[in-house]
């Protein structure tokens, strides 16, 4: 069971209170992009065995979307951040790097 801190309302809850929303920071292709690029935007996913940047929604709480960084190998959560940014904050990236250096995650 993941324990998640909502960065929007501050509530800390179990994963059943939240809904996963898939890979984060996907940039929309087009207008005018090729079919292949648009298909890639719609369907291709990084699906790493390791650090995953993803979207979540506090579905049974404040209802807001936010971002989370999690290991798909160990389910370790490296941090949460607001929805309205296009890249993760540096302190979370530092935490990921530290975990990599310790061999906790790929």
């Amino acid at each position: 069971m993941l324990l998640i801190d909502c960065p929007c309302c501050g509530v800390s809850g179990e994963e059943t209170e939240f809904a996963a929303g898939g890979e984060a920071h996907i940039v929309r292709a087009g207008p005018g992009s090729s079919d292949a690029d648009f298909a890639s935007y719609l369907f291709d996913r990084k699906n790493p065995r390791g650090v995953h940047f993803e979207r979540w929604r506090h579905a049974f709480g404040c209802g807001k979307w936010f971002h989370m960084v999690r290991s798909t190998q160990t389910l370790e959560v490296f941090g949460v951040y607001k929805a309205d940014v296009t890249s993760p904050p540096q302190d979370i990236l530092d935490r990921v790097e530290a975990a990599r250096a310790e061999g906790r995650v790929k």
Partner: protein, 421 residues
Amino acid sequence: MAAKRKPRYSIFSLARNSMSHHQGWEKAWRSPDPKPEYDVVIVGAGGHGLATAYYLAKNHGITNIAVVEKGWLGGGNTGRNTTIIRSNYLQDSSAALFELSRSLFETLSQELNYNIMFSPRGVLMLAQTEHEKRAWQRTHHATRLNNIYTEWADTKRVKEICPIINTDPGARFPVLGGLWQPRGGTARHDAVAWGYARAADDLGVDVIQNCEVLGIDREGGKVTGVQTTRGAIKCGKLGIVVAGNTTRLTDMAGFRMPLESVPLQALVSEPIKPCLDIVVMANTVHGYMSQSDKGELVIGGGTDGYNAYTQRGSFQHVEETVTALVETFPIISRLRMLRQWGGIVDITGDRSPIISKTPVDGVFVNCGWGTGGFKATCGSGHCFAATIAKGEPDAVAAPFSLDRFSEGRMIDESVAAAVAH
């Protein structure tokens, strides 16, 4: 070098071996060291990879093949699934593929000289809302048009087929009927992998266990070989058949896939006396159940909502599944659960599998079977072997190619496991 033909399993070999206290059975397959080069390397010794190797050797005369497996053969989703086999799919392309597979199961024990325990005990898919009833009736009409035998069972017939189902009209989700495929059923999952491995080995295929692929070598857009934990292996063609690990392999080959990997779990109860001689799937309440020959109730759960490679799955899904099944089968309410486990399944954007060429010349993928590929093991291996041998998909495989995602040819079977994951 082709292997020496194995003696056949039969009532006589059983009798003969019983004379020597069963000490004289030959090994079912060799454990060869990898050769420096093969015509075809298949990555992943699950049912699909082994079946592919078998049909390449048997139907296409290609026998210089290695199947490389990072763990033990059949230890992936093949050995973790709830073994439901059916072919009552809505779309023509899926019906063709899954019925080819189901029909190959009928004679697979004889074909492989290995008892895979195919048990066409019948699969019943319950309708518990008006919407679901209409959907299953539509599927029923579609399967009949595709020459696949199904029946529409009303509530009374459901109770006849399966007396332990709660058909109380006052239930939260009353049983309004069901889609009944009498020739669906189950098979012994390990035996399917073992049978294909033994038969492929017999045709000269090297099944190499404890051999993880770590890299894919390419030259000028064409595959030349793989790097493994047991050294480099050159190959002319490469088949990737690794289920939940597909994107790890395609990352090595340098192209992306429309896939996400999620845990799917199952559990079994303590063994009890026979009470359920068919497979029942209940989509609305989300659970499915059959009874093994040992007497355990085999129960399939739901997928986790997020990507993971943990091979276990979240606890709340066990609770949800069991709650749903107790409502459908009140007699199980006091049963204890014995074991729970998970597998990592690869889910595509349209929930249908991918059997395809790829952007890298000589690399082929067979994946995206998600929560429902055990039933397709034979058909998948059959048409993937043809695709690899000819370099082009055969008629059954063609609709499942990768370019359907850019061409917008989705195969809309979002109920691929009959329970929506």
